[in-house]
């Protein structure tokens, strides 16, 4: 009898087990999701298993039976068989006949003539009373004798429904009631065995982890199946089930069993093994084995998927690291000769000042900045770039960046209204941003005067606006200006990488600031504003 308590207990352990496994293993999100999915599948399958194994016959009937029992009618047991009813009828008939028969016999024995006497009436009454009492007593004893095993069976059924399947009912004799008690005992024992098997199976399924290799899961599944079903031997073969021929059953020899490992519509392998020859193998047992096999199949498929995702993941990480190393190498290999060129040009220029050496140094710088920009893009995208923010007065790096561009013919003004406020920024990264923006202003401002305004903004922020007096940014370009590899429509022929604004904005954001294109104002060209965290210049 599938005890409602027992089933709900095993049912409850499944959802509980999922988070426990996931957190206990400190597994990644994917792992937890897989576990949860597996747990859901297990509980679904368990419900299905209950239906398959016991659904049609046991739970409903048992419930009805139990209900009727609890209502006190116990009428159900009266319908059990003709023989019992007959016996009860005999008992009742006997109870009613005995007083009458006794009365008749007494009448014949004592004296037929005396029956008409006055004392006869009283005597008759006495006899009747005695006969009735002994009749009732007899009927009672008989009924008690008959209902004792019935009560024992009812109590056993109650116990079984409360979860105790191990206490057998003892009814001596060979009659129907004894046979009924026997079948109850057998049923309870079968159920208990299957419950035990189901418990072991669930335990085996829950103890699995997607980190296990499919071969490991297969090996453990075979071992678990052997213990759970009491098999002599068991194997899980991860091959096409059709390749494994079905063994014929030879009476008296060990009993071959098999179940296909089926996950969805996919056959992953087959579970084969042998049972002791004496062991009964019924439909419900085969259902349970097949259920177990399909659970194993799901676990193996999950492990396969997990392994695939893991290996793809580690491949991606390797590729990413390789890409990073490659870029670092490229950067190094480009920067090393540039360093020499730059340093020699500087040294020569110091000995013999020459404008051409200055140009060599500038262009070397430019090239080296473009290499850096490329490296910065990949670093930003992989999230590896962590700015080291220090305090800095913005006017200094602005002037330094301007000097690096060496555009002496363009009017350049720094309007510092910061009132001594200092920005908090990574000086190296800020230098990249300022250089890119000033370079842009030079290129697209058509060498018109460039103004840089530094002023405190709201909320402890500093604003730095770079503007020229050129044509400004076309309306159609405004939206896509900050995208990667984008340039203005009429600017495709220039020498930029198309990364400057994108990298600059990302760098500003990495420094907890921002870079925006200011709205167009008549009489002014393009105006870009950098926002950075700022600090007042007070002693603290």
């Amino acid at each position: 009898m599938v005890e409602p308590g027992g089933v709900s207990a095993t049912g409850a352990t499944v959802p509980d087990a999922a988070p426990a496994v996931a957190t206990g293993a400190a597994a990644p999100a994917l792992d937890a999701a897989a576990q949860a999915a597996l747990a859901r599948e297990v509980s679904d399958r368990e419900a299905a298993a209950r239906d398959a194994l016991f659904g049609d016959t046991w739970p409903d009937d048992l419930d009805r039976e139990a209900d009727r029992g609890r209502e006190g009618g116990r009428g159900g047991w009266l319908n059990l068989g003709l023989s019992f009813r007959t016996r009860l009828t005999i008992a009742l008939v006997a109870a009613s006949i005995i007083p009458l028969a006794g009365f008749g016999i007494l009448l014949l024995i004592v004296d037929p003539a005396a029956a008409q006497g006055a004392t006869i009436g009283r005597f008759l009454l006495f006899i009747l009373v005695v006969a009735a009492i002994s009749g009732i007593l007899l009927a009672y004893l008989l009924a008690a004798d008959l209902t004792a095993p019935l009560r024992a069976i009812a109590a056993a059924v109650d116990r079984a429904s409360a979860g105790d399947l191990s206490t057998p009912i003892v009814v001596p004799g060979e009659d129907e009631l004894a046979r009924l008690a026997d079948s109850h005992n057998r049923l309870a024992a079968d159920l208990e065995r299957r419950n035990r098997e189901l418990g072991r199976i669930l335990q085996a399924i829950q103890s699995g982890s997607p980190h296990d290799s499919p071969d490991f899961i297969a090996g453990r599944a075979a071992n678990d199946a052997r213990t759970a079903f009491g098999m002599i031997d068991a194997y899980v073969l991860l091959v096409d089930p059709d390749d494994i021929a079905e063994e014929e059953r030879i009476p008296g020899e060990s009993l071959p069993i098999r179940a296909v490992l089926r996950a969805g519509s996919e056959d992953l392998g087959v579970l084969v093994g042998h049972l002791p020859a004496t062991r009964l193998w019924e439909r419900a047992d085969q259902d349970l084995l097949e259920l177990y096999a399909s659970e194993v199949a799901v676990a193996i498929r999950n492990a396969q998927l997990f392994a695939r995702v893991e290996s793809q993941n580690s491949q991606l990480l390797e590729l990413d690291a390789a890409k990073d190393d490659f870029l670092r190498g490229v950067s190094h290999n480009l920067q090393t000769p540039l360093t020499s060129i730059r340093a020699y040009a500087d040294q020569l220029g110091r000995d013999r000042p020459d404008r051409r050496l200055g140009i060599i140094a500038e262009q070397t710088d430019r090239l080296s900045r473009m290499v850096r920009q490329l490296l910065t893009v990949t670093r930003l995208e992989s999230g590896a770039l962590k700015p080291r923010s220090e305090v800095v007065a913005l006017a200094h790096p602005v002037r330094r960046a301007w000097e690096a561009l060496a555009a002496a013919d363009v009017t350049f003004t720094v309007d510092d209204r910061s009132g001594g406020w200092l920005a908090v920024a990574d000086v190296d990264q800020l230098d990249q941003v300022l250089w890119a923006l000033l370079d842009n202003a030079l290129k697209y401002g058509n060498r018109t005067p460039i103004t840089v305004e530094i002023a405190p903004d709201t909320q402890s922020r500093l604003r730095l606006t770079i503007c020229d007096l050129g044509a400004g940014v076309a309306e159609s370009d405004r939206a896509r200006l900050f995208r990667r590899f984008e340039r203005g429509a009429d600017r495709s022929a220039d020498d930029g990488s198309g990364l400057g604004l994108y990298v600059s904005r990302e760098l500003c954001r990495a420094m907890e600031g921002d870079l925006v294109l200011e709205p167009h104002v008549a009489g002014r060209g393009a105006a870009f504003s950098i926002y950075l965290p700022g600090e007042p210049p007070e002693e603290a």
Binding site: S331, T364, L385, A393, D426, D428, A510, E539
Partner: protein, 257 residues
């Protein structure tokens, strides 16, 4: 100790390790003309061989070299002696590898280097040899431990990262623990290669530092201001801190933010 070329009779000795012969010759020339005594090595093995016969005052190591890279070489050297190291590298701040450099190198300079900046950094690192800051944890009280060689501070149970400048300032303060260090000294220590730095750099950085290392930044326990003079670093539970007030702190008094 050594505070740069010219100031002492003995020129600081520098060992440059780089696999690019052009750069090696050039940088050696530049530094020699500024009065340093230069030795060069083409790779890590050669550098280690040279270290067997004499120790330089400072090493400049290229990050990327065949066979033994700069990082491994720097680790190897630090394992033998705590020599100051400046790493020359084509990668810049923000790279994950740059974080590793912090552990083994005193400073690093990005390629292509700007010679005046490199020289400023060399001098600063050489100057810092005078600061007797141990390469180990400095426990300042129950709620503050400094690991300056790792640029880390442990505040309560929280580990906070320090910027290079912040750790340089803490170096300077820790070397004179309990005593006031003037704002000018801190400025020189923290911003040696920044030409236009002014005292507000120190003020703002100390304010930010206090946010990081003090449990209550408004009532600093360790980083105290000596108004108008400078700052001092004190141990937290030493009751004697007020008694050992710095000698040069005339206007001193425990700061209260």
């Amino acid at each position: 100790m050594l505070s740069g070329p010219g100031a002492h009779e003995t020129a600081p000795r520098i060992l440059i390790v780089d696999d690019d012969p052009n750069l090696l010759v050039l940088l050696a020339d530049q530094l020699r003309s500024d009065g340093y005594e230069i030795q060069t090595a083409r790779d890590g093995d050669e550098a280690l061989r040279r270290l067997r016969t004499s120790w330089p005052d400072l090493l400049i190591i290229d990050m990327m070299m065949p066979r033994m890279d700069g990082l491994s070489l720097a680790r190897e050297i630090k394992g033998r002696a705590d020599l100051p190291i400046i790493v020359l590298s084509a990668i810049d701040a923000g790279d994950s590898k740059a974080d590793l450099l912090d552990e083994v190198a005193e400073d690093y300079v990005t390629k292509p280097y700007h010679y005046p900046e490199l020289r400023a950094r060399i001098n600063r690192v050489l100057r810092r040899l005078g600061d007797k800051v141990p390469r180990q944890s400095l426990v300042l009280g129950p709620s503050l431990t400094l690991d300056l060689h790792r640029r880390e501070a442990t505040v309560g149970t929280q580990v906070v990262q320090l910027t290079p400048t912040e750790s340089r300032l803490l170096y300077a303060l820790a070397a004179n623990i309990g005593q006031t260090v003037t704002t000018d000294t801190l400025l020189a220590r923290g911003w040696a290669e920044t030409e236009d730095a002014d005292p507000s750099y120190v003020w703002v950085t100390m304010r930010r530092l206090r946010q990081k290392v003090e449990v209550d930044p408004n009532r600093p326990v360790h980083l105290q201001t000596v108004r108008g003079v400078g700052y001092r670093l004190v141990m937290a539970d030493a009751g004697a801190t007020t008694a050992t007030t710095a000698t040069n702190a005339t206007t001193a008094g425990p700061a209260d933010g």
